[in-house]
């Protein structure tokens, strides 16, 4: 990966906020933006609402809300259980902090 000094070569046309983002990405490899702590970073729906998948699949009147629970990891990051159970099949790490994923608690 390019080091910090290479940022001097960034195109002047690039927006300042993106320069920051790119620089940060090079520096820490992982970042996120406008991800609020109560939003599932995987499907980008509030964790208290049903996840994007449940919203798409359920009948219009129920929205599957009662089945779609929230899961908290040991790292304190929270996601929809539906979203996280799909992701851990790919990679058993928290998508936000990259720590090994283990469940701290589940609920609403």
């Amino acid at each position: 990966m390019a080091d910090e000094n290479d940022n001097e070569r960034i195109d002047e046309n690039q927006r300042p906020d993106k320069m920051f983002t790119l620089k940060k990405w090079n520096a820490v490899a992982m970042w996120s933006w406008d991800v609020e702590c109560d939003t599932c970073a995987i499907c980008r729906v509030q964790v208290m609402d049903a996840c994007l998948r449940c919203q798409a699949e359920s009948k219009k009147d129920s929205y599957g809300k009662q089945d779609c629970v929230v899961v908290w990891g040991e790292c304190n990051h929270s996601f929809h259980y539906c979203c996280m159970s799909l992701w851990v099949k790919q990679n058993n790490r928290c998508p936000l902090c990259q720590q090994e994923w283990s469940i701290q608690r589940m609920g609403k």
Partner: protein
């Protein structure tokens, strides 16, 4: 020009009554495609293959500095149905001489790695915008001679930057003119 909202509306019309096989991808794409177009780097443009399908498009990168300046490089991007659990599939459709892109168009960008042991690969918190900026940065910030896909190009750079530069230019003139 067709706006995203028009595109979306037509899509909904054509989809009515049909079970959508990739509801999550398509819902994410509506937001992500819009975000991508708003934050597109000045040297990039996006061409959709079909106005009703946000999942297949070509990103054109025209570097304004560096070795590949003056070239026009096309990346075919396919957002598969499993998105965002897996990264989009990316292939470089323009032949070029680059340490991180093979002559066959395979692209080596950590973000696009489906399975990652080092925490640098794909994560569902990433968005199309990140993919675009990553590909764009392959010509500047993320250009990497240390872990090359095209080993010959990286070796050449090590022995003679002039030779490397002229081969890059030769390829740009042969394959990457607009």
């Amino acid at each position: 020009m067709i706006t995203l909202s028009q595109r979306l509306k037509r899509k909904n019309d054509s989809d009515s009554g049909i079970v959508n096989r990739a509801p999550i991808r398509d819902r994410l794409l509506v937001k992500e495609a819009q975000e991508m177009s708003q934050l597109l780097p000045a040297s990039c443009s996006v061409q959709y293959h079909n106005e009703n399908d946000l999942s297949k498009f070509t990103l054109v990168v025209q570097p304004t500095e560096g070795y590949w300046e003056g070239g026009s490089f096309k990346f075919d991007i396919n957002v598969t149905e499993e998105y965002n659990m897996v990264p989009p599939l990316v292939k470089c459709a323009t032949k070029l001489w680059h340490p991180n892109i093979s002559e066959n168009g395979e692209v080596c960008l950590s973000l696009l790695r489906r399975h990652s042991v080092d925490g640098m690969g794909w994560s569902p918190i990433r968005r199309l915008n990140d993919v675009v900026w990553g590909l764009h940065a392959l010509f500047t910030d993320l250009l990497n001679f240390e872990d090359p896909l095209n080993v010959e190009a990286a070796d050449q750079f090590r022995y003679s930057k002039e030779d490397f530069k002229s081969k890059v230019t030769e390829y740009v003139l042969s394959y990457a003119r607009e």
